[in-house]
């Protein structure tokens, strides 16, 4: 019951991928993509986080319950940020922040 033992080569690969993605996110920040700069940065960060969760944190080999727990965390974070945007996003149609107007 020693759990899944991943090969060292996998860890090295993931590490290299994370490093490459770090360089990529810095590089992408210097290109003017307009609104999409933020999106690209978040997609890369999300991809990096997924790699860490999936391989370094062994979620790939973990029980369904553990996978469900991870998904719950992401889901409720999405609720938090999403419903904040419902207010602040729709506020922008009607009014500017009190401080600027």
């Amino acid at each position: 019951m020693s759990g899944h033992v991943s090969p060292i080569s996998l860890y090295i690969t993931i590490f290299m991928a994370l490093m490459v993605l770090t360089v990529a996110t810095v590089g992408a920040a210097f290109v003017d993509l307009g609104q999409f700069n933020f999106l690209v940065a978040m997609i890369i960060a999300g991809f990096k986080a997924t790699l860490v969760i999936w391989y370094f944190m062994h979620v790939k080999y973990a029980s369904k319950l553990t996978k469900l727990t991870v998904a719950t965390g992401i889901f409720f974070l999405a609720i938090l940020l999403g419903l904040f945007l419902v207010d602040y996003g729709s506020k922008a149609f009607t009014q500017m922040p009190p401080f600027l107007s």
Binding site: S6, I8, V52, F56, T69, T72, L80, L81, F84
Partner: protein
């Protein structure tokens, strides 16, 4: 792996219990699974803990984007990038430590753990350098916060050196939607969030290093084997989580708008 557990069950009490098995669990597998789920539930709370900060960040970034871009450019990409690399490296060493514990390599486990702690300390050291820089530039929010001073008061002499990197980016490359007075306040919000986020992240790292000190000692005393290495794995999960937080903090704080 489940084979082993089944065997232990078959033989019932004739099979000696592992010394680390607590009385209210039936098998080591049950105990380990409980610990893994428990740790993930704890990380769930951590996600929402940082989530509150991310929500605040999101709101102010939408409102004061120009200020965030300005303030973000005053951060050193070199130190930030270096720290990202250091932390990802420490995640690798941590994963290796867990792997060595899984395969019952005592000395290697201890060494990888020590290396992880060293990398963690390097990260914190870099953070100290960055924080010191903020203090010099009056970029620490509060009553001494001065955004304009760093750029517009070279006459004071002592600030001239300090005004190197950020000033170059700030000096009128493009028109800002904010007046200097507004910029003074809104960049302070950026730095308030910067310090709260990185400060809490650093606090988590300090706690992580503290946990690892204990774990390393336990590993050195030979308390772990391939059946029982849960504390190493738990410390690993925590450390990787702290790494993930930084993976998001880095683009959010350092890379708001670098292409101008």
């Amino acid at each position: 792996m489940s084979n082993v557990a089944a065997h232990a069950d078959d033989r019932g009490h004739a099979h000696a219990h592992h010394p680390a098995l607590q009385h209210h669990f039936d098998t080591m597998a049950q105990q380990k699974e409980a610990a893994v789920v428990g740790m993930w539930v704890f990380l769930l709370t951590e996600i929402l803990f940082f989530g509150g900060l991310f929500a605040a960040y999101m709101v102010y970034r939408i409102w004061y984007f120009d200020a965030f871009a300005e303030a973000s450019r005053s951060l050193s990409l070199f130190w930030g990038g270096l720290n990202t690399a250091v932390l990802i490296g420490s995640s690798l060493t941590m994963a290796m430590a867990v792997r060595c514990a899984q395969t019952n390599k005592r000395t290697a486990t201890v060494n990888w753990l020590i290396l992880t702690m060293i990398l963690g300390a390097v990260f914190l050291g870099v953070k100290v350098i960055e924080y010191a820089d903020k203090f010099e530039h009056h970029h620490v929010p509060g009553y001494n916060f001065q955004w304009a001073a760093a750029h517009e008061a070279p006459a004071a002499g002592e600030h001239a050196v300090a005004a190197s990197e950020g000033a170059a980016a700030a000096e009128g490359h493009r028109e800002l939607s904010l007046t200097p007075a507004q910029l003074q306040l809104t960049t302070q919000i950026y730095f308030s969030l910067y310090f709260t986020m990185t400060g809490l992240h650093a606090l988590h790292m300090i706690i992580g290093i503290g946990i690892m000190l204990v774990i390393t000692r336990m590993a050195y005393q030979g308390k772990f084997d391939q059946e029982y290495y849960t504390p190493v794995e738990m410390a690993g999960l925590y450390w990787h989580f702290v790494d993930i937080v930084w993976i998001f903090l880095f683009p959010l704080l350092y890379l708001v708008e670098r292409h101008v």
